[in-house]
């Protein structure tokens, strides 16, 4: 668990989790694409501007799924085992993410509800680009041992 994050039990409704910043550079996108394709370098709308333009896009865009991992990792930092076993994420991809974007992973406590012998903390989460635009928004939650 990250030493820079508070214990989730110390957070209440309206509290913001300190954000983390992640670079969505070309190299990161291509590494992710290699993972998806089993190690191959392929030209597609996510890795090549020309291919993207032929598909009607202004330029290459990142996949939506890729940076959801940034949310998952941030919440694993926050909840620890309570995210790996019990975590949930629901997000909508509302704006494109372009190579070179910087994404801030934000999370704000919405509410906490009892769940068995634990507490489920629900947060509003978002990926916010360098222009302050929320590109991915939704909710996520993790379990806190009482």
């Amino acid at each position: 668990m990250s030493a820079s994050l508070p214990a989730p039990g110390a957070l209440g409704p309206g509290d913001e989790v300190p954000p983390v910043s992640r670079e969505m550079g070309w190299e990161q996108i291509k590494k992710y694409n290699r993972y998806v394709t089993g190690g191959k370098d392929m030209k597609n709308i996510h890795t090549d501007d020309e291919t993207a333009r032929k598909a009607g896009l202004p330029r290459a865009i990142a996949t939506g799924r890729h940076p959801v991992s940034f949310i998952a990792e941030h919440l694993t930092d926050l909840f620890g085992a309570g995210f790996a076993a019990g975590g949930e994420i629901d997000v909508a991809f509302v704006k494109p993410i372009f190579p070179g974007d910087t994404l801030n992973v934000t999370a704000k406590v919405k509410e906490s509800l009892p769940e068995g012998d634990k507490t489920r903390m629900i947060l509003d989460v978002a990926l916010v680009n360098q222009d302050g635009v929320s590109v991915t928004v939704g909710t996520a939650s993790g379990l806190i041992a009482d």
Binding site: V36, G39, S69, G80, D90
Partner: protein, 148 residues
């Protein structure tokens, strides 16, 4: 045999898209970690669950891979995603993945498709994770209308 195109005429709610067994290897975990830029110790060494576990999002691309095994997919607009992580998967563990079309609906004159992938332990059959994937498809027929 030619695979059908991935469009409204080709899919039905409740249809099993595909299923497969998959063993989570250290190489798979390493490639995922490099792709998403994480180096958490749990993924290569000890974890609170006893030994290395895979990142929770390790299966995130498998929905589309399984769809692509059955259909010719020419690109879809991924609109929403949902994930439920019931327990972590250990590195070296074999899981069973099953993808089912859960919903088809029309919104803003576009056809929307929701599919769900359940990931279960191969040995115990217990639920490890659920991935929900919502995409916009080109609307070639109205929902409920039979193809002529």
């Amino acid at each position: 045999m030619l695979k059908p195109e991935f469009k409204w005429e080709s899919i039905r709610v409740g249809q099993v898209v595909g299923e497969r067994d998959l063993t989570v290897t250290p190489e798979m975990v390493a490639a995922h970690c490099e792709g998403v830029g994480t180096d958490r110790d749990w993924y290569t060494g000890d974890s609170p669950f006893g030994g290395p576990i895979a990142p929770p999002m390790i299966f995130m691309n498998d929905v589309l891979q399984i769809i692509d095994e059955s259909f010719q997919r020419f690109g879809t607009i991924h609109a929403k995603s949902g994930y439920r992580f019931h327990r972590p998967v250990h590195v070296g563990e074999t899981v069973h993945e099953k993808v089912v079309f859960k919903d088809l609906y029309v919104k803003r004159e576009k056809g929307w498709m929701v599919c769900e992938m359940e990931v279960r332990g191969k040995e115990e059959g217990d639920l490890i994770a659920t991935y929900l994937h919502t995409s916009v498809l080109s609307l070639t027929r109205k929902h409920g209308e039979e193809t002529k």
